[in-house]
C-alpha cells in the first residue's frame, strides 16, 4: 500500500479525491483488506471526534458487517434455490424464452390429457351406471309437500333476515313463483 494511495484514500474519505484517484482507491480497496480497514479507521476517528461513536458501535462494526452479508447471502441462496425449484415449464437461466414457453405448453398439454383420461372423458365405458339404475319415482304425498313447503319457507325467511346480499331474496321469489304455479 503506497503512501500516495493512502493519501488518496484520506482525500476520498473527505470527498476531496479527484475522479481518477477515487476510482483507483476503490479498485485497490476491493483487493486490499488492509486498505479497507484503514478507510474504516479514518471514518471511526471522525465519528469518535464528533461524539457519534458509542462503544457498542465501535465493538460491533465487524460483527455487524458479517451479519449483514450473511443475511444477504442467505437471501441470495434462497432465491437461487427458488429458481432451481421452479416449475419445469419456467424458463431457466440460459434457456431461451421461446424454449421455456414450448416446455410450458408441452407440460400443460400433458396434464390436460392425463386429466381427460383420468376423469373418463375419453373412456367409452359409461361411468354413471349407479346413477342410471332404475329408480321408481314415487310422487310425494300432500302431507310431505306441506311439511317440505313449511321447511323451505322457514329456511328462506331465516336466510333473508340473517345474511347480506340479494341471493336469499331471489330464492324467496323463485320459491313463491313455483308455489303460485302449483
Amino acid at each position: 500500500m503506497s503512501e500516495k494511495l493512502k493519501e488518496a484514500l484520506s482525500a476520498a474519505v473527505d470527498g476531496e479525491a479527484d475522479e481518477f484517484e477515487l476510482r483507483r482507491v476503490i479498485d485497490e480497496a476491493a483487493k486490499d483488506a488492509g486498505l479497507r480497514d484503514t478507510w474504516e479507521r479514518y471514518h471511526l476517528v471522525s465519528a469518535v471526534l464528533a461524539d457519534r461513536a458509542s462503544d457498542a458501535s465501535i465493538a460491533s462494526r465487524q460483527a455487524l458487517k458479517s451479519r449483514i452479508w450473511e443475511s444477504l447471502d442467505y437471501e441470495g441462496a434462497n432465491a437461487e434455490e427458488a429458481v432451481a425449484e421452479a416449475p419445469a415449464g419456467a424458463p431457466k437461466a440460459g434457456m431461451p424464452l421461446w424454449m421455456g414457453r414450448a416446455v410450458g405448453f408441452a407440460v400443460a398439454a400433458g396434464v390436460a390429457v392425463a386429466i381427460m383420461f383420468g376423469s373418463g372423458v375419453l373412456d367409452e365405458t359409461p361411468t354413471g351406471q349407479v346413477a342410471t339404475l332404475d329408480v321408481q319415482e314415487v310422487p310425494p304425498s300432500d302431507a310431505d309437500m306441506t311439511r317440505s313447503d313449511a321447511y323451505m319457507m322457514h329456511h328462506v325467511q331465516h336466510t333473508a333476515l340473517n345474511s347480506s346480499g340479494v341471493l336469499s331474496f331471489v330464492k324467496v321469489v323463485t320459491y313463491d313463483r313455483g308455489e303460485s304455479q302449483r
Partner: protein
Amino acid sequence: MAQDTDKELVRRVKKGDRAAFDLLFSRYQQKIQHLVARYVRDSDEVLDVTQEAFIKAFRALPKFRGESQFYTWLYRIAVNTAKNHLVARSRRPPGVDVDIADGEYMDGGEYLQDSDDPQSTLARDQLREAIDDAIAALPEDLKTAVTLREFEGLSYEEIAVVMECPVGTVRSRIFRAREAIDDRIKPMLSGRAVRR
C-alpha cells in the same frame, strides 16, 4: 465534494461490487447506529435495527436514482426502520421527530452509553483519549489542518485559505495527521473483541 465519493461507491454497488458496499457501510455505520440509538434504547436492538436498515438499503439500492444525496436516503431508511421496529414492539416513536438532514449532528449516543458495561466504556474512553493525545502531539500545521477538517468540517479549499497554503499541502497535512492518529489507535482496535 463528499457526495462524489458516495456516488462512485453507489455506482459500484449497483454493478455488484461487494467491497464498495463494505466501504459505504464503514462510512456510515457509526452515523446510522447513532441515529438509530435516538429511537431505540436497547443496544442489542440498536444493532438489529442498524443491520436491517443496511440490508434494506442494499436491496433498494438498484432503485436509488441519485436524485437525493445518498446519506439522506440512507438516513430516511434508518429512521423508518427504527420507527417500524418500535411499532412492531408496540412502543411509540419519539414525540419529536428527527430531522433527517440533521441526523449526523444529533446527540443520541447517551442511550448506548448508559447501557454499556464499565469495561466497554473504559475502552471507548481510552480510544478517545488516544486520539486526543495523538492530535495534541502533532506538529502545529498538521494539528490545525486536521482540527479544521474534523471539528469544523471545512473543505480542503477553505482550510487552504485559512492556513494560507496550497490545497495540495492541506491534503498532505491532513493525511499525515491521520497517519499519526492511526498509528496510535490501530493496536487498540485490532485486539478488541467483538461484543455481541
